[in-house]
């Protein structure tokens, strides 16, 4: 499974939406009604799955699936 697919799977599991149904540009908070704790859950799961450390300041960027994918790519590519 490539990086993007893996991120998608993690995010879908945590936000409780199927991979087929998730809108990659929908806002977790405004469109899906998630709270800040759920965003932290996504951050922790991504860090653990990819063995990366995301700067806490960048949590605020993790507002949609596409943003999470972009951020994860940035960190995993920097590691390579």
């Amino acid at each position: 499974m490539n990086c993007d697919e893996k991120v998608k799977e993690i995010v879908c599991e945590i936000v409780g939406v199927s991979k087929e149904e998730i809108d990659p540009d929908a806002s977790f908070m405004d469109d899906m009604g998630l709270d800040s704790l759920r965003a932290l859950e996504i951050l922790a799961a991504i860090e653990n799955a990819f063995g990366i450390t995301i700067d806490p300041q960048r949590l605020q960027e993790m507002t949609t699936l596409n943003h999470v994918i972009k951020l994860t790519r940035e960190y995993t590519e920097a590691d390579q």
Binding site: G16, L37, R38, L40, E41, A44, A45, E47, N48
Partner: protein, 319 residues
């Protein structure tokens, strides 16, 4: 001083049987249907069964509190163990996989007040939220504190009761051979002012709680009789009027029966008496109270809880 009425009650008593733990377990079908529309992802089991009991008690009274209405309604959640199992599981996960591997979504379960706060959040109760950890006296003390909060006018309505789980950790902590049981329940307590419709089920007429130090333990029945006399006096009644005496004690069954008989003689009672045999952890008091509400016997009940270092008494008049 306000009179304190019980206007609604619901207790979930485990109907499952776990032979290995020698324990009556609350089954998912007993609480899941009561949690419809509640987001329960990451909510631990103790919070779920506590919230289910709280919601069903309010529902039985036909009360829904809206999110924006200011109120001073309180929660008194009695529990011997509260979320100890969630704390331990969270810690075990960190030990097994490293501190970074824990799910932050589970951390809120690791504070001992979590189940009470879940009840406050989802029942919209905006007043004081007390978690009361008094070992086996937990739910009876929660009822007693709730009674006093309404009696003295601090709040006008409280959900008082509590819950406990009997997972392997709790059973190991209890370290006794008794049959165990899980129960989660609340009584809705109100002052005469807030009872607009419906008839109260019962009235709480007295409460006492104290620590038992070494000397008192050797003369336990005298000490308990004293406590009962004090409790009934505060409600303006006589101990002789007690028609049903119920004891929930940490002692083995035969010693519990003996203590009950001594107490019965000490108080010169004529009515019925019962010693609770199952170890309900902190939920003994709410199981006893549930029995009163379920009974048609309109009489004065005296509930006694005793642990090796403390005891509590609650007087309930079934109306």
């Amino acid at each position: 001083m306000n009179k304190v009425y019980i206007t609604s009650a619901n207790t979930i008593i485990g109907t499952g049987w776990d032979a290995e733990q020698n324990c009556h377990k609350i089954l998912p079908q007993q609480y899941e249907p009561l949690l419809q529309s509640v987001p329960t992802r990451n909510m631990d089991r103790i919070s779920k069964i506590a919230l289910a009991a709280a919601r069903s008690t309010l529902e039985a009274r036909g009360i829904t509190v809206s999110k924006d209405t200011p109120n001073n309604y309180g929660i008194l959640f009695g529990t011997q163990f509260s979320a100890l199992d969630s704390i331990h599981n969270f810690d075990m996960e960190a030990l097994k996989k490293g501190a970074l591997a824990v799910n932050p979504g589970l951390f809120p379960n690791t504070v001992l007040n979590a189940p009470a706060c879940q009840a406050s959040i989802h029942c919209r109760f905006a007043g004081p939220v007390y978690t009361v950890c008094s070992g086996p006296l937990s739910t009876l003390d929660a009822l007693g504190i709730g009674y006093n909060l309404i009696r003295s006018g601090v709040t006008s309505m409280v959900l008082a009761g509590g819950a406990d789980e009997a997972e392997p950790l709790h059973c190991a902590m209890q370290n006794n051979k008794k049959e165990k049981g899980e129960a989660a329940g609340f009584l809705l307590l109100e002052s005469a002012d807030t009872i607009h419709c419906g008839t109260p089920l019962a009235e709480i007429a007295g409460y006492a709680s104290c620590a038992l130090h070494q000397k008192q333990r050797t003369t336990l029945s005298f000490t308990l009789a004293d406590m009962i006399t004090t409790a009934v006096k505060s409600g303006g009644i006589s101990a002789r009027d007690i028609a049903c005496l119920s004891l929930y004690a940490w002692l083995p069954a035969n010693e519990s029966e003996r203590l009950l008989a001594d107490l019965y003689t000490e108080l010169k009672l004529n009515g019925t008496r019962e010693a609770i045999k199952t170890d309900w952890m902190g939920s003994g008091g709410i199981v006893q109270a549930n029995k009163i509400i379920g009974s048609k016997h309109k009489a004065l009940w005296c509930l006694v809880n005793a642990d090796e270092d403390k005891a509590a008494v609650l007087i309930i008049k079934r109306l």
